[in-house]
């Protein structure tokens, strides 16, 4: 099912970061967001996840606007942001379970997800002992531990070694083969093929001061 946004604009900290932005993603495709720091990649991902509301424009699936049924939208997506959402006092497995079970992930899928992200054997280690790369991988394991058609990934390969980057690439490829879609904000080439690229700088608004006339 197609997921798209029309005429989106977003204000962060009293500044208009992008405006008039359009995008559309079809099953099996991937959209890569590029643009310099502060161009609004993270903002757009958060808008897509409906964590942030766009100042203008709207988001919709083929069967209806996101705003009509936010819970349905949440059930259709996985969001992996800058923050890992890991608890130091919970073990690797418990950390993953927390989020996977909320989205209907089974024990089998959770075990498989840990294997895919090369976390096998770490299941009972508390979160506080993990390295930055391991934390990142555990966070990405959420993607495989339960099903959702839309993946929203913010710099997914930060702190990952080459082998883990390969694992992520494979994960995304499998997801796309199965008809899933992915939106990836990144400034490094992940080597993912057949993607559409959306450069946020193309939607940078003209400087406009709302309060200009106030003297």
């Amino acid at each position: 099912m197609r997921f798209f946004g029309e005429n989106l604009s977003c204000v962060r900290g009293e500044r208009l970061v992008f405006s008039g932005l359009e995008f559309a993603i079809d099953p099996g495709t991937a959209l890569v967001l590029t643009g310099s720091n502060g161009s609004g990649k993270t903002s757009l991902l958060r808008v897509m996840a409906s964590l942030t509301h766009p100042t203008a424009g709207h988001l919709a699936w083929q069967d209806g606007p996101v705003a009509d049924d936010p819970e349905r939208h949440h059930n259709r997506l996985h969001y992996v942001g800058h923050l890992d959402a890991l608890k130091p006092v919970l073990s690797v497995r418990e950390n993953l379970e927390t989020w996977a079970q909320l989205h209907g992930g089974t024990d089998k899928k959770i075990a498989l997800a840990l294997k895919k992200l090369r976390l096998e054997g770490f299941e009972n280690i508390p979160g506080r002992y993990l390295s930055a790369g391991q934390r990142r991988r555990l966070s990405l394991a959420r993607l495989a531990a339960s099903d959702a058609p839309l993946w929203l990934l913010d710099e997914p390969t930060i702190a990952l070694d080459a082998a883990s980057v390969d694992a992520v690439r494979t994960l995304i490829a499998e997801h796309r083969t199965a008809g899933g879609m992915a939106v990836i904000a990144t400034n490094v080439d992940l080597g993912i093929t057949e993607t559409t690229t959306l450069n946020l700088l193309d939607f940078a608004p003209a400087e406009e001061d709302v309060w200009e006339g106030v003297t």
Binding site: A85, T98, L102
Partner: protein, 221 residues
């Protein structure tokens, strides 16, 4: 509904792994209550007169200390984003958080309350009212506290500000909580006070999840 159970289980699991956090709150409650006799003198009649008020005020202050950690860790490590993106509406998350807070803080305070009442020589006729008002009042406090915690999430000096916001809203619970115990000791009917406290609890149960969810949404924005 199962989402509510899952979130509640997560909260309880986290709270039990960090049980020391709850223990410290109860310890503060006891210590603060023990301070009063040093200040006002150990005269038994006066202490008995003060007992309902001291128990309630110190319980409120102790609860106040616990609210700051209610959402802050989840906000800082990104768990709150994931909870917001979960299948359950944020209102339900707010309710689960309040329930977990009550189980890990309100309930221990309630259990410790009669111990303090004993130290203050609360007349025997007051214990029933003390426990009933605590049972009705502490969940209300947990619910109102979640609103304050959500509103001040990510602010500078969150804890002090939180108290400034929450204390005025909790005043009615304090007023009727102590009034009911006083009435019970004096042999007056307590029913009306308890009905009002039950009303506060029901009102808070309906309204605070909405307010907390609204505050959390804009905190994530």
């Amino acid at each position: 509904m199962s989402a509510l159970v899952l979130i509640l289980r997560r909260e309880m699991r986290l709270a039990l792994r960090q049980i020391g956090d709850s223990a410290i709150i109860v310890l503060f409650f006891v210590l603060a209550a023990v301070l009063f006799p040093f200040g006002v003198g150990p005269e038994p009649n006066m202490l008995a007169r003060m007992a309902p008020g001291v128990v309630w005020v110190t319980a409120l202050l102790a609860a106040m200390l616990s609210f700051e950690r209610l959402f802050t860790p989840d906000f800082e490590d990104g768990s709150l984003e994931q909870l917001a993106l979960g299948p359950a509406p944020l209102e339900m998350v707010a309710l689960a958080k309040a329930a977990a807070h009550w189980l890990t803080t309100g309930l221990p305070l309630m259990i410790a309350a009669p111990l303090i009442a004993v130290l203050y020589r609360l007349p025997d006729s007051g214990y029933g009212a003390l426990m009933t008002t605590m049972a009705l009042g502490t969940p209300t406090i947990s619910l109102i506290g979640t609103v304050g915690a959500a509103l001040t999430l990510g602010s500078r000096r969150g804890g002090v500000l939180l108290s400034l916001l929450v204390i005025p809203l909790i005043v009615p619970v304090l007023i009727f909580g102590t009034a009911a115990i006083d009435a019970a000791i004096g042999g007056f009917p307590v029913r009306q006070h308890l009905m009002l406290m039950g009303g506060f609890l029901l009102g808070a149960l309906v309204l605070t999840p909405l307010a907390t969810a609204a505050a959390l949404r804009q905190a994530l924005e």
